[in-house]
């Protein structure tokens, strides 16, 4: 699936939830499916700090693609992290660095990912793209 297709899939999934509580319930569910981050990455090096919750993000190159794993101490944030990883992980650096994450807005989570919301999610997306940018630059050089 393309980046666009995954996002549309997510939008479809959320469409059935009319109510915020249902959306949150679904995010809580998603948070439980997020693979555990190896505790050796739960250090300040991988920490993305917001005002409220913490996110740890680890990225590694797997051939041509980037794989992310992450974790958060807050559950709804973790659910969103799970979505971000579902959309972004396993793609090429080039695709990720230019990714237009339209699904966030469409499923009503814009607040959580806006820079004025002092939390780690906005920084997380930035960090995901930064990793991609770095790998991409490396690829270009070699």
């Amino acid at each position: 699936m393309t980046l666009k297709e995954v996002q549309e899939q997510i939008i479809d999934e959320f469409e059935i939830y009319e109510d915020w509580m249902d959306k949150y319930n679904y995010l809580i569910e998603l948070s439980q499916d997020l693979p555990v981050l190896d505790s050796k990455y739960k250090t300040s090096e991988y920490l993305i700090e917001g005002c409220q919750s913490k996110v740890w993000l680890y990225a590694k190159m797997d051939g041509n693609i980037i794989r992310y794993t992450a974790e958060s101490d807050a559950i709804i944030t973790k659910g969103i992290v799970a979505l971000l990883i579902r959309v972004m992980s396993g793609r090429s650096a080039e695709e990720i660095k230019d990714a237009n994450l339209f699904f966030i807005d469409r499923i009503g989570l814009k607040d959580n990912l806006s820079p004025t919301r002092a939390n780690g999610l906005f920084s997380m997306v930035k960090q995901m793209k930064l990793y991609a940018l770095a790998y991409f630059a490396k690829q270009q050089k070699s």
Binding site: W20, M21, Y24, C51, Q52, S53, K54, A74, I75, I76
Partner: protein
């Protein structure tokens, strides 16, 4: 009787829905909503009477100056200062505290001196003193608190000695709600010739403050937390202290004569008011104080105590809910956590139910560190809140617990 419904109708912002749910505003510790009389005052000033104060001799400027100085008198009376000279208008508590940390610091704090604060201060009453301590190579000492969130008085006695230049303490803690025994503490400090600054940001909205009775040397608060507009605050200082301090900011209004060779400063209070004053906000704040007085400070305190007791009882009954701050003497703030649920999750879910609470460190990170937590959820209630709203919070939390189990 305290007619809450009537009072609520004075606050237009209470009458709204968020996410289709009626707003429950429990974020009053961050900023209060404004009564119509305050909003109308701002509107009238800007629509009709606006004109810069002090130096003008034309009609509008003279009238505006009078109103501004009336506002100062109003504040003087509200906190029972001796004279209007002791009332400096600033742009908020933070600016008031920084005024003192800078000027008092410049004048009286030397290398090796100690500055005493408490473990429950807001960042605005920590960081200015840290900056000062660093600049002057002075030492910042901290009075600890106990598990209830109260100052440990025995420790205070130990810490207080002649090497301390100033004690800066919040009258009421914004993170825990604790009302500190400031009168007693000030007495102890004065016995050792230590002047005391009180951060009154959270105290002024909730009850009677009499600076003469307290005998504090400085008192700071913000307009926006006491039902007034943003961008205005008060620094009270005893005249004898303010006379001794150098001015802080330089600019218009705070000078008497200016030449490149020699500049002399204006008399109090203008010496500390550089630049164009926020006179509309000062006048708006005075209206807020009128509003409070009309309701009655004692009645407000009694009603808010009722809210606090009700909320404490109700929330304590929730399985796994822990309240932080159990001081014997508290304002209507309940800071809590649900076991195993991050404060952010709690805040986000409650938000969608129309409940506006603050989550996080409440700009009092050391308090969180003290309790080994990363933050709390805080319901700060005031006289326009109701028991029904507390019931909604209760129900919301019950639902939330089910979601996260």
């Amino acid at each position: 009787m305290f007619d809450v419904q009537k009072i609520r109708s004075d606050f237009p912002a209470l009458d709204q829905q968020v996410y289709g749910k009626p707003l429950v505003y429990f974020d009053n510790g961050a900023t209060t909503l404004k009564p119509k009389v305050v909003i109308d005052t701002l509107q009238e000033i800007y629509s009709k009477r606006n004109s810069n104060v002090h130096r003008g001799i034309h009609y509008l400027s003279l009238r505006m100056t009078e109103e501004y100085e009336e506002a100062r008198k109003r504040v003087r009376k509200f906190i029972n200062a001796r004279s209007e000279k002791e009332i400096i208008f600033t742009n908020g508590t933070t600016a008031s505290i920084n005024t003192i940390s800078s000027t008092f610091g410049e004048e009286f704090v030397k290398e090796g001196d100690e500055i005493l604060i408490s473990a429950m201060e807001h960042h605005s009453n920590i960081v200015p003193w840290q900056i000062l301590a660093q600049r002057k190579a002075a030492i910042l000492k901290v009075i600890p608190m106990n598990d209830q969130g109260e100052i440990v008085m025995e420790k205070l006695d130990e810490l207080m000695h002649e090497g301390i230049r100033i004690l800066a303490l919040n009258h009421v803690s914004n993170a825990l709600g604790t009302i500190n025994p400031v009168k007693e503490i000030i007495q102890k400090a004065h016995e050792r010739n230590i002047p005391v600054l009180l951060d009154g940001a959270q105290a002024i909205p909730h009850g009677d403050v009499d600076v003469q009775d307290l005998d504090c040397d400085f008192y700071a608060f913000s307009g926006h937390k006491v039902y007034g507009p943003n961008g205005i605050g008060v620094l009270y200082g005893k005249e004898e202290w303010l006379e001794k301090l150098p001015p802080w900011q330089g600019g218009g209004d705070m000078v008497e004569k200016v030449s490149f060779e020699k500049t002399s400063f204006a008399e109090l209070p203008l010496k500390f008011e550089a630049g164009t004053a926020n006179y509309p906000a000062a006048i708006g704040m005075a209206k807020a104080l009128d509003y409070i007085d009309a309701l009655g400070k004692d009645q407000i305190a009694a009603y808010e105590k009722e809210l606090l007791d009700y909320a404490t009882l109700k929330l304590s009954a929730i399985d796994g809910l822990k309240i932080f701050g159990a001081a014997a003497n508290k304002i209507s703030i309940v800071s809590f956590l649900l076991e195993g649920i991050h404060q952010e999750d709690t805040g986000m879910v409650l938000d969608k139910m129309g409940l506006a609470l603050r989550t996080g460190t409440h700009c009092a990170e050391p308090v969180m560190t003290r309790f080994g937590i990363s933050g709390t959820v805080r319901a700060s209630m005031v006289f326009y809140n109701t028991k029904e709203e507390i019931d909604k919070l209760y129900e919301g939390l019950i639902k939330l617990r089910q979601m996260f189990r």
